[in-house]
């Protein structure tokens, strides 16, 4: 019965989405009449109901996975009764149908949130926004019930399930998709706001202030999702790298880049009433990138190590949705943006100017990633098979990213409206000096290192110093929370950049084949293979190496245990790297194949300061969170006043 109830809830939610769209239509047409208020009340209630039903449907799917109900096709193919509970739950979205249901549940919940909390917008604009949100949801409900029904029964039921890809059987990854989806779908709200504003020709500070918390929330979740995804790939895939420029990774990076630009331009619109058309465009582009990302991953037209649902029927369905929503919104933009009057203007050297520069540079990086990700598709249409990898992306994005770092350092030091070049140069004296000293020091201490990572470290130091300057000579206790947020987020960028640069400049790698008892050195460590022994887990068995590691001559000996795991359902081998985190970096060890002569392959990396990459990501997200809390509180105070 649970499966049938879930499907019924899904159908009902879809029906309510249709009603929501019609009510929104009516409310927009009745704008200004007495009837409009009644329609608005109904519209808010229906949005709420739609959200609750979608959540209920998703909750029921989770219940099916928790009970290991093998009479449901999706459970039988993606779960196993022997799995730990947390992975049974994660199994609900660790597959195509479940993740699409999660997507629509988040979408509908976000719509309900707008209906519940949004009091700032003109009611007709809010109605148009809720209508746009319903319109998006309808397409995804149709996709679910007609092309990806997660509740199909299996008759007769399977004796047991086929399991979950063991690579995905990891706490980090279990919560990775929901995090990213909240981010993606949060951007759908920004998209709907933009569509609503275009329909009602109502673009201004009120609209920007209404949209900003949603953009911030989506952006925080995207930041956490990308950071966690990067760390997951780093420790789970056993290859020692933290970013691969894989199409699936790019699919999450592109909306993040667009959302970062949007976050900054929406601030200009909210506080200075500038950048109206540009902000609208970014809101459309950010969600377009989310949808294109979903499409790329789900359709299988781009070959990726992560893509797990390759199906042309579904691909064409999503492509059609993409055409309707993105194409439609861009056409609406083209038709209506001319009627959006220009906002206030500003000088080139000003806070606005720096934010525009930041937006342009982010857009350029977005363009590079977009082109690099889609170029193989383009080449294929021309009859050439090729793939574009890390060397292209690294080379193409690095200079733009460094320019962006410089803009990020300078922006917060500028005044709104207008500032003078001389004043700016004066303020930049300290950070630029710090960067120069850092460059000279690192370059001298690490002779033979490639200058680009050293330059990146210098930029990181400069940005780090510049980031905290807005706090200097300020009463710290009276500094608004969103300023703290900005400072911490920018500091996070500096920390991440330092980690990336340090990893690429100073990491050392060792690949060795050793007998039990042999020593290998990597960086400052001496690693001894003490033994290789069997190990048993809840649903896997493994070969485990016991490594004894000593740092330097007189360091404490500690042990590390990398494993090769064997999962039986489905039969798969994975490498469990053992990672030791020290204050100044990580030692990363992988156990490889055993040879017939009794030697074992060991892969060892010493990665100085690599942890800064994810620490920085965490700081960026924390900064976003502080800004969000600060903005919401301040606006509530303004409303009360």
């Amino acid at each position: 019965m649970i499966a049938e109830a879930g499907l019924a809830a899904l159908w009902l939610a879809g029906t309510f989405a249709l009603i929501q769209l019609m009510l929104a239509w009516g409310a927009v047409r009745a704008n200004g009449t007495a009837q409009a208020d009644e329609l608005m009340t109904a519209l808010r209630r229906v949005s709420l109901l739609q959200g609750l039903l979608a959540l209920l449907s998703f909750g029921l799917l989770i219940a099916l996975f928790v009970r290991s109900d093998m009479s449901v096709v999706l459970v039988a193919t993606n779960s196993h009764s022997a799995k730990p509970l947390i992975y049974k739950i994660a199994g609900a979205w660790g597959n195509h149908e479940g993740s699409m249901l999660l997507w629509v549940a988040v979408l509908a919940t976000a719509g309900a949130g707008v209906a519940l909390f949004e009091r700032r917008l003109a009611s007709a604009t809010l109605a148009a926004t809720l209508g746009a949100q319903a319109f998006i949801a309808i397409g995804f409900y149709a996709f679910l019930v007609f092309a990806s029904n997660p509740f199909i029964r299996l008759d007769p039921p399977a004796p047991d399930g086929q399991g979950l890809n063991p690579l995905l059987q990891d706490p980090g990854l279990a919560f990775h998709p929901p995090t990213l989806y909240i981010g993606y779908v949060g951007l759908s709200v920004a998209f709907s706001f933009a569509v609503g504003a275009l329909i009602m020709r109502d673009v201004g500070p009120a609209f920007a202030k209404a949209m900003r918390p949603w953009v911030l929330t989506a952006w925080i979740f995207l930041t956490i999702g990308i950071t966690a995804g990067s760390y997951w790939a780093y420790y789970e895939l056993g290859w020692g790298g933290w970013w691969f420029w894989d199409p699936v990774e790019n699919a999450s990076l592109m909306p993040w880049l667009a959302a970062t630009a949007l976050l900054h331009s929406v601030t200009v619109l909210a506080t200075r009433d500038g950048l109206r058309a540009w902000t609208l465009m970014l809101a459309l582009v950010a969600f377009a990138m989310s949808m294109i990302g979903t499409f790329l991953v789900r359709s299988g037209i781009l070959v990726s190590v992560h893509a797990f649902a390759v199906d042309p029927t579904r691909g064409s369905f999503i492509l059609a949705l993409l055409g309707i929503y993105i194409g439609g919104a861009l056409a609406l933009f083209g038709l209506r943006v001319g009627t959006v009057t220009q906002g206030s203007t500003f000088r080139l050297v000003s806070r606005e100017g720096a934010l525009v520069l930041n937006n342009l540079l982010l857009t350029v990086i977005l363009g590079i990633v977009f082109i690099g990700t889609l170029y193989p598709l383009f080449a294929q249409a021309m009859g050439v098979q090729l793939s574009i990898g890390a060397p292209f992306f690294n080379k193409a994005t690095a200079p733009v990213a460094l320019a962006l770092v410089a803009a990020t350092a300078a922006g917060p030091l500028l005044r709104w409206r207008r500032d003078s070049m001389n004043a700016l140069l004066g303020k930049l004296l300290v950070p630029v000096g710090a960067a120069g000293v850092a460059f000279a020091l690192v370059f001298a201490l690490s002779r033979g290192t490639h200058p680009v990572p050293v330059l990146a470290i210098a930029f990181a130091v400069g940005l780090g110093v510049a980031s905290v300057l807005p706090l200097v000579r300020r009463n710290l206790r009276r500094t608004p929370m969103h300023v703290w947020g900005m400072v911490i987020a920018h500091l996070g960028v500096a920390v991440s950049l330092a980690g990336m640069a340090a990893d690429s400049a100073f990491k050392t790698e060792r690949l060795a084949a050793v007998h039990v008892g042999d020593n290998v050195t990597v960086g400052p460590f001496r690693v001894t293979l003490a033994e290789v022994r069997p190990a048993i887990g809840p649903n896997w068995s493994a070969l485990e190496a016991r490594l004894q590691v000593r740092r330097g001559e007189d360091g404490q000996v500690f042990e590390m245990m990398p494993q090769q795991r064997f999962f039986s359902a489905p039969p798969t081998n994975t490498n469990e790297a053992a990672i030791r985190t020290l204050f100044d970096g990580q030692l990363y060890t992988v156990l490889g194949e055993g040879a017939e002569d009794g030697r074992w392959q060991l892969r060892l990396w010493w990665k100085p300061w690599v942890t800064l990459i994810w620490l920085g990501g965490g700081l960026i997200a924390l900064g976003g969170l502080l800004a969000l809390i600060g903005r919401v509180r301040r606006e509530r105070r303004e409303d009360d006043a």
């Binding site: 459309l284 359709s299 064409s316 993105i326 194409g327 933009f333 598709l377 294929q380 249409a381």
Partner: protein, 174 residues
């Protein structure tokens, strides 16, 4: 200028949309072709698999254009391809073979059932010869010209319609 800019995103999206649709409805050709085509045959030394039939040594595969067929007794398309190899042989083609991960008994039974078009059969238990050729599966057939250069790679089984084409290519490779 400004109007053009406003419509640029939609135009860009239309291009991407078209490309994605094309990619979706015309799936990529995932055939892997060898990088060795156009290059001299790499050095391959494979022992004989069956008594009375020599193995493969690259040095001997010169002087006359020939086909080098990568096959296995456990490969189903190889059965489908067998009559067409016999037809090629009957038309005067010289055909050598590399047997991948196979045993003498299994190959003897395979040839007894499907006919034997081969002059030489090299025994490639570890796929060393296959890897050297840049072949990624069975069956595959390489056409080697009289100077010992690989001029053509046929991926997959040879069907009736390929016979004339291969004979013409053999003639051209003299």
């Amino acid at each position: 200028m400004k109007r053009a800019l406003i419509w640029a995103p939609l135009a860009l999206f239309a291009i991407v949309f078209g490309l994605a649709a094309a990619g979706l409805f015309k799936p990529a050709d995932r055939t892997i072709y060898s990088a060795m085509v156009g290059k001299p045959l790499p050095t391959i030394e494979l022992p004989a698999l069956l008594p009375g039939k020599p193995g493969i040594a690259t040095a001997q595969l010169k002087g006359k254009p020939r086909l080098l067929n990568v096959f296995a007794s456990w490969c189903v398309p190889c059965i489908a391809e067998a009559p067409h190899l016999l037809a090629l042989k009957a038309a005067g083609a010289e055909i050598d073979a590399i047997a991948i991960r196979d045993t003498p008994e299994a190959v003897r039974a395979f040839l007894a059932r499907n006919g034997d078009p081969y002059t030489r059969i090299g025994d490639d238990k570890a796929s060393v010869g296959q890897l050297a050729l840049g072949s990624s599966g069975v069956p595959e057939t390489f056409l080697i010209d009289s100077r010992g250069v690989i001029v053509k790679q046929h991926v997959g089984d040879i069907r009736a319609e390929h016979v004339a084409e291969l004979l013409a290519a053999l003639e051209a490779a003299k």
